[in-house]
């Protein structure tokens, strides 16, 4: 998805959307996919993990000044957490105490 502001892309008479469905979805489910399917690397809910299987590494995306992390809730519903990039960067930087 293009998430870059682009006022110059304002054009009349043309759809900006390339409609698509989830990869691997059967043709009969042409219109059937979930927000989680849209995620590039959605984490399966804990209930679907094999015993001992660790949660996959979350994959961050960016949206303007925000980063977003996609998760799957226990019942399979999608959850996205948006964080301001500056906040995320602050937390990623070790504090003075940690550096020592």
């Amino acid at each position: 998805l293009d998430t870059t502001p682009s006022p110059s892309s304002v054009t009349a008479g043309a759809s900006p959307w390339r409609k698509h469905r989830a990869s691997g979805a059967p043709a009969s489910a042409n219109r059937g996919y979930t927000l989680g399917d849209m995620a590039p690397n959605p984490a399966p809910p804990p209930s679907e993990r094999a015993p001992g299987e660790e949660a996959p590494q979350e994959r961050l995306e960016h949206c303007g000044p925000l980063t977003l992390a996609r998760h799957a809730k226990d019942d399979g519903r999608a959850l996205i957490l948006f964080r301001h990039a500056a906040t995320a960067a602050d937390e990623a930087t070790p504090s003075a105490g940690e550096r020592r």
């Binding site: 998805l1 293009d2 998430t3 502001p5 682009s6 006022p7 892309s9 304002v10 054009t11 009349a12 008479g13 043309a14 759809s15 900006p16 959307w17 390339r18 409609k19 698509h20 469905r21 489910a29 042409n30 219109r31 059937g32 996919y33 979930t34 927000l35 989680g36 849209m38 949206c63 303007g64 000044p65 925000l66 977003l68 809730k73 019942d75 519903r77 999608a78 959850l79 996205i80 957490l81 948006f82 964080r83 301001h84 906040t87």
Partner: protein
């Protein structure tokens, strides 16, 4: 699973989502499903001890795959906040979240129209007090945006652009403005304190807005909502709806040539007509579809300007 039925008399769809009858209704603060899940506390919809902005698929959706979407947007982990009291940076972030969700849902084959909205106050049926909004991905273009497209055709161009031009010439109904956004009580307002917050430039959706415009949109919305809260010195109930271009396969082509088929504006429908009186949709509104208002838009605009000044 919701069911759509077409009302032949009115020429419109009706959605039946009977599972919503059992949705969470005004829970105690301790059991708020939109608060973070704190250690030792009850689990909520957001299984993290803190968060900034969270979006998740509605547990009780009016629309769901393969025919649309319903999402919840939680503005903050602070149960007692409101859109108007968010830090300006958080309100600005929320505009980016709206933009991201619009773009992602627009790309789905089963979504023809993305409606981002907030219901505030028990007067408009709010069932959770934690500050949040919702997003519906309609599998069809609903009547109101369809009427806006018809207005484009009738006026021979972008109707919101034409109406904004008229308001800027008249100026009596403008309540606040900045470099990118103008807020006004519309000429034919249906609600006593209805306000439309419109982008100055023609922007079919938030996708076409630049960062400065998103920041100024957030600022104008907060200015207005704080003014609303100052109007009767109480949290002001409203329905707030972001209007953008339909997202069907034909997309903006559904509008007339040169119109763009959409113009970013936020409409507020507050049910209060005075500090203690609600406007009800009764005989004329329900049976004939004609609103009867007790308040002139010009008077409401003057009153709102004073309230916004008090809140500043």
């Amino acid at each position: 699973m919701s069911e759509l039925r077409f009302d032949e008399l009115r020429g419109e769809q009706v959605a039946y989502a009977i599972h919503r009858q059992d949705r969470t209704f005004l829970p105690t603060r301790e059991h708020c499903p939109l608060c973070p899940t704190r250690p030792g506390g009850p689990s909520s919809e957001i299984p993290f001890p803190a968060f900034e902005i969270a979006v998740f698929e509605n547990r009780f959706p009016a629309f769901e795959v393969p025919r649309g979407a319903a999402e919840v947007v939680v503005y903050t982990d602070d149960h007692d906040a409101s859109f108007g009291t968010l830090a300006p940076s958080r309100a600005e972030d929320l505009m980016w979240v709206w933009r991201q969700r619009y773009c992602e849902l627009a790309a789905r084959e089963d979504v023809e129209y993305v409606m981002i909205f907030e219901n505030r106050g028990v007067e408009v049926g709010v069932t959770l007090h934690h500050p949040h909004g919702q997003i519906y991905g309609f599998p069809f273009v609903p009547p109101v945006p369809a009427l806006e497209l018809a207005a484009d055709a009738r006026l021979g161009g972008c109707a919101p652009c034409a109406l904004l031009h008229r308001e800027l010439e008249d100026r009596t109904r403008i309540v606040c403005e900045n470099d990118a956004v103008v807020a006004f009580v519309p000429y034919a307002a249906r609600w006593a304190y209805e306000v439309h917050v419109s982008m100055r430039e023609h922007r079919p959706s938030l996708r076409e807005c630049d960062a400065a415009e998103l920041r100024l949109l957030a600022s104008a919305l907060q200015t207005l909502i704080r003014g609303y809260d100052a109007l009767f010195e109480r949290p002001f109930p409203y329905v707030m709806v972001l209007h953008q271009a339909p997202t069907g396969a034909s997309g903006q082509a559904t509008g007339p040539a040169g119109a763009g088929g959409g113009h970013v504006h936020v409409e507020f429908y507050p049910p209060l007509r005075s500090a203690t009186k609600l406007k009800y949709l009764a005989g004329s509104e329900q049976g004939a579809g004609t609103f009867i208002s007790d308040t002139l838009p010009e008077q409401s605009a003057a009153t709102l300007r004073e309230a916004i000044a008090r809140a500043a």
